[in-house]
C-alpha cells in the first residue's frame, strides 16, 4: 500500500519527569493525574527516508533498557513488510537474546527499584552495606543477562548483530555451553529471588481491569503471536489499533489507550494473567510459592509476576540453548526480502508490556512509521488505579500517601526514570489531617 495514513501520536521513552497531581477538596478527590512531560523525540518522523535495514538500529535508541525489544519489534515489522521469513535458527537466537533483556530489566526493577521501597530504603546503595548478599546476587543475575545479550548481539544496549532476516554474527558452541552452565547455576539465585519477594509485604490493593498481552498457543509469548485480552478475544497483530485506540489527554504528552474498558494493563502481570498455562513448570511453582494465580488484580504484584518471569526466562533460555546446540549453530546469511515495498506490523512483549512497530516501506525506503510503547498503554490504567487507591488512604499523612502512589507507579515499571524515586507528587491542597 502506498498511501500514507498514519495516526499521529507521541512516541517517547516516557522515562523522565512524571508528575503525580492529587487534588482533594473537602475530602473529595477532584484531581488525580499522572502527568508525563517528556521531550518529544520524533523517531517516527526520523525513520522516513531511511533504508529499511537502518530502522532497527535507529529505533533501538528509543530506549536504553528495551533496546533489544525495540530492535526485535522493528525487525519483525520490516520483515512483515518485505516478505522476509527468518530461519528457525534466527528465531531461536532472537528468543534467547530477548530473554537476556527480560532478565536484565526485571532484575534491575525488582532489586534496584522495588525492593528498596519495601525495605524502607531510598535506593539500593545502602543495601550494599546492610545486605551485600542481596546486592551481589542482583549484580550476578544482571551480569549473566548482559553477557547473554553481548554473546548474541554484541552488546545489550543497542544490539549490533541483529539484522533484517537474521544475524551478522553467531555465538560459538563453547560460548553457549558456558552460558548454559551459568544459567543452571542461576537457578539458586532465582529461588532466592522468589524467597526475597515472599518476604515483602505488598499493599492489599486490588482493582479489576483488562489485561492485554501477546499470545500464542504453543509458548509463553514474547515475540509475534496475536493480541489477547483477559476480557476475551484474540486479534491478529495487524489490528493493533483496534486495541490501542490512542486518545489525547490534556495533562499528559503521552497519549492514553483503551480497549474494552476505560483502560487496560500490559506488562508482566498482564502476560502472567493471560499466558499462565504456558509458563515453565518451575515458574508455575514459583508463582504458587508467591500465592500468585491468574487472575491477579493487585497491580503491586507486577513485581512478583516479574520474578515468575525471571524463573521462566532462565529455564526457557536453557531449553533454547539445548535446542541450538542440538541442531548446531550455522553461520547463515540473513533471509532476503522477497519484495522491496510493503506494510508490516511487528510486535514484542518487552519487559514493560506490548510494543508495536508499524512501517510503510517503498522501494526499500521507509516512508511511514508508527510505534506504540508499553508505558503509554499503561498510563490510563495507572491513573485509574491511583484514583481508586487514594480515597481509601486519605487518613494517612501526605508522606505516606506519596509513597503509596510512588510505589504504585513504580510497580508498573514504567520506563526507568519514572520508576526511580524522582516522581514529583504535588498536592494541590493539603490532604490528611496530620
Amino acid at each position: 500500500m502506498s498511501t500514507l495514513k498514519v495516526d499521529v501520536h507521541h512516541v517517547t521513552r516516557v522515562e523522565g519527569h512524571g508528575n503525580i497531581v492529587v487534588d482533594v477538596e473537602n475530602g473529595e478527590l477532584t484531581q488525580c493525574d499522572l502527568q508525563i512531560v517528556e521531550t518529544p523525540r520524533f523517531f517516527e518522523a526520523m525513520l522516513r527516508g531511511r533504508a529499511y535495514d537502518e530502522a532497527s538500529h535507529i529505533t533501538s535508541r528509543i530506549c536504553g533498557i528495551c533496546a533489544v525489544g525495540h530492535a526485535t519489534a522493528s525487525l519483525r515489522a520490516t520483515e512483515q513488510a518485505l516478505g522476509v521469513t527468518p530461519s528457525l535458527q534466527t528465531t531461536l537466537l532472537r528468543k534467547l537474546n530477548f530473554h537476556g533483556e527480560i532478565l536484565d530489566s526485571h532484575v534491575l526493577h525488582i532489586y534496584m527499584l522495588v525492593a528498596p521501597d519495601y525495605l524502607g530504603l531510598g535506593s539500593v546503595i545502602p543495601l550494599a552495606k546492610s545486605a551485600p548478599d542481596i546486592v551481589l546476587r542482583a549484580l550476578r543475575m544482571k551480569q549473566l543477562a548482559g553477557d547473554l545479550c553481548a554473546t548474541l548481539c554484541g552488546r545489550h544496549t543497542h544490539p549490533i548483530s541483529m539484522t533484517v532476516g537474521g544475524f551478522t554474527q553467531f555465538p560459538k558452541p563453547a560460548e553457549l555451553r558456558a552460558l548454559r552452565e551459568r544459567l543452571v547455576a542461576s537457578r539458586a539465585d532465582c529461588d532466592a529471588t522468589i524467597q526475597l519477594l515472599q518476604g515483602l509485604e505488598f499493599p492489599a490493593f486490588e482493582r479489576d481491569t483488562e489485561y492485554v498481552a501477546l499470545h500464542r498457543d504453543d509458548e509463553y509469548c514474547f515475540i509475534d503471536g496475536s493480541i489477547a485480552s483477559s476480557d476475551g478475544g484474540i486479534r491478529p497483530l495487524a489490528e493493533y489499533r483496534e486495541v490501542t485506540n490512542e486518545t489525547i489527554v490534556a495533562h499528559s504528552s503521552a497519549k492514553h489507550t483503551r480497549h474494552r474498558r476505560e483502560s487496560y494493563m500490559v506488562g508482566a502481570l498482564a502476560r502472567f494473567n493471560i499466558n499462565y498455562d504456558r509458563l515453565h513448570p518451575r515458574a508455575q511453582a514459583a508463582a504458587e510459592a508467591l500465592g500468585l494465580r491468574p487472575k491477579t488484580i493487585n497491580p503491586y504484584l507486577n513485581a512478583a509476576a516479574q520474578a515468575v518471569e525471571v524463573v521462566h526466562c532462565t529455564e526457557d533460555a536453557i531449553l533454547l540453548i539445548d535446542q541450538l546446540l542440538d541442531q548446531g549453530i550455522k553461520p547463515e546469511a540473513p533471509a532476503a526480502p522477497t519484495r522491496m515495498s510493503g506494510e508490516g506490523v511487528g510486535a514484542a512483549d518487552v519487559p514493560r508490556g506490548t510494543l508495536f512497530h508499524h512501517y510503510w516501506i517503498e522501494g526499500g525506503t521507509i516512508v511511514g512509521a508508527n510505534c506504540i510503547i508499553p508505558t503509554g498503554q499503561n498510563l490510563a490504567n495507572i491513573e485509574l488505579d491511583m484514583r481508586a487507591l487514594v480515597p481509601g488512604i486519605l487518613d494517612r499523612t501526605q508522606q505516606e500517601i506519596t509513597l503509596a502512589l510512588e510505589m504504585l507507579v513504580r510497580a508498573y515499571d514504567p520506563c526507568i526514570s519514572c520508576s526511580t524515586h524522582m516522581l514529583d507528587v504535588k498536592f494541590v491542597k493539603a490532604v490528611g489531617a496530620r
Partner: protein, 251 residues
C-alpha cells in the same frame, strides 16, 4: 576528600547512564574514590554541591538551556557523555528536515503543544571540558575517564580513525565483504565493535579531526549507494557535525 560527582540527562535514551550504572556495578572500587551526590536513575538523594558533572543527552528545547547553564556554573568540570551529548546524536537526524514537518508528522494538530527546536550537542550551549563518545559509551572508557579525572587530567580520547583499531582486531574489512562502513572517518576507541559483529560502523563516536568526507562518499557511491542513501548514512550520528562543516543551518 573524594570529588563530588553528579549525573544529569537531557534528551536521550538513558542508555549511557545505564552503562555507567553497569560499570559502577562491575567496578565497585570506583564508588570508593568518588562521591556521587546526584544520579536520578540510581538514587533518591540529591545535592547540588558537585564538582564534576557528567551530562547525557542533547539539548532539544530552549527551556533545557537554562538548566544546562546552571550545571555549568556549579561544576568545575563538565563531561559530555554519549553521542547525544557529544554530537546531538540520533536526535539530530531531524535537523535536516523542516522542523514543522517533523512536528506535524508526529503530533498532527497538536504539534504546538510540545516545545522543541533542532537538537544540538552540549557544546553548542556551554563549554564542555571533555567527552566520552559513543552510543552507548564504552565501559572501559568511562573507567578511564574517571581515573584520569582523579589524577587531575582531562580524559583523552583517540583522534585516529576506527580503521586502525579494526585492523588491530584483525577484522576483514566490511568493504571487502561487499558492505559499507564509516570507519575511515570515525574516531576510534570502541575496539571496532560493530565491524567485529559483522556490521559497518555508523559513526557513533563522531568524526576524526579533518575527515575526508569526499573520499568516504566516493567509496559509498562505488558500493552502489544513492546520494540520498549516503546522506542518510552520514546523518545517523553525524548530522550536526556535517551540517556545521557545510555551514548549513537547520530548517
Amino acid at each position: 576528600m573524594n570529588p563530588k560527582v553528579a549525573f544529569f540527562e537531557f534528551t536521550s535514551c538513558e542508555g549511557c547512564q545505564l552503562t555507567v550504572l553497569d560499570t559502577l556495578q562491575r567496578h565497585p572500587e570506583l564508588l570508593e574514590v568518588i562521591e556521587i551526590v546526584q544520579f536520578r536513575e540510581a538514587m533518591t538523594e540529591r545535592s547540588d554541591d558537585y564538582r564534576i558533572a557528567f551530562i547525557e543527552g542533547s539539548c532539544t528545547r530552549p527551556s533545557d538551556e537554562a538548566k544546562i547553564r546552571e550545571i555549568r556554573k556549579q561544576a568545575q568540570i563538565v563531561i559530555a557523555v554519549g553521542a547525544c551529548a557529544h554530537l546531538g546524536g540520533i536526535n539530530a537526524i531531524r535537523n535536516r528536515m523542516p522542523l514543522d514537518d517533523v512536528r506535524e508528522y508526529v503530533y498532527g494538530e497538536k504539534k504546538d503543544w510540545f516545545e522543541t527546536y533542532p537538537a544540538r550537542p552540549l557544546s553548542a550551549v556551554i563549554k564542555v571540558d571533555a567527552v566520552i563518545p559513543g552510543c552507548p559509551i564504552d565501559r572501559d572508557e568511562f573507567v578511564m575517564a574517571v581515573t584520569h579525572l582523579l589524577q587531575g587530567r582531562m580524559p583523552a580520547i583517540p583522534d585516529y580513525p576506527l580503521c586502525i583499531e579494526c585492523k588491530l582486531t584483525e577484522n576483514v574489512c566490511m568493504f571487502l565483504r561487499g558492505q559499507t562502513c564509516l570507519g575511515p572517518i570515525t574516531r576510534a576507541g570502541c575496539d571496532a565493535i560493530c565491524p567485529s559483529c559483522g556490521q559497518g560502523c555508523e559513526g557513533c563516536r563522531g568524526l576524526i579531526p579533518s575527515p575526508n568526507l569526499g573520499a568516504i562518499k566516493e567509496a559509498l557511491r562505488e558500493r552502489g549507494m544513492t546520494e540520498e542513501q549516503i546522506d542518510a548514512r552520514l546523518s545517523l550520528f553525524l548530522t550536526y557535525q556535517t551540517m556545521q562543516m557545510e555551514g548549513v543551518t537547520p530548517a
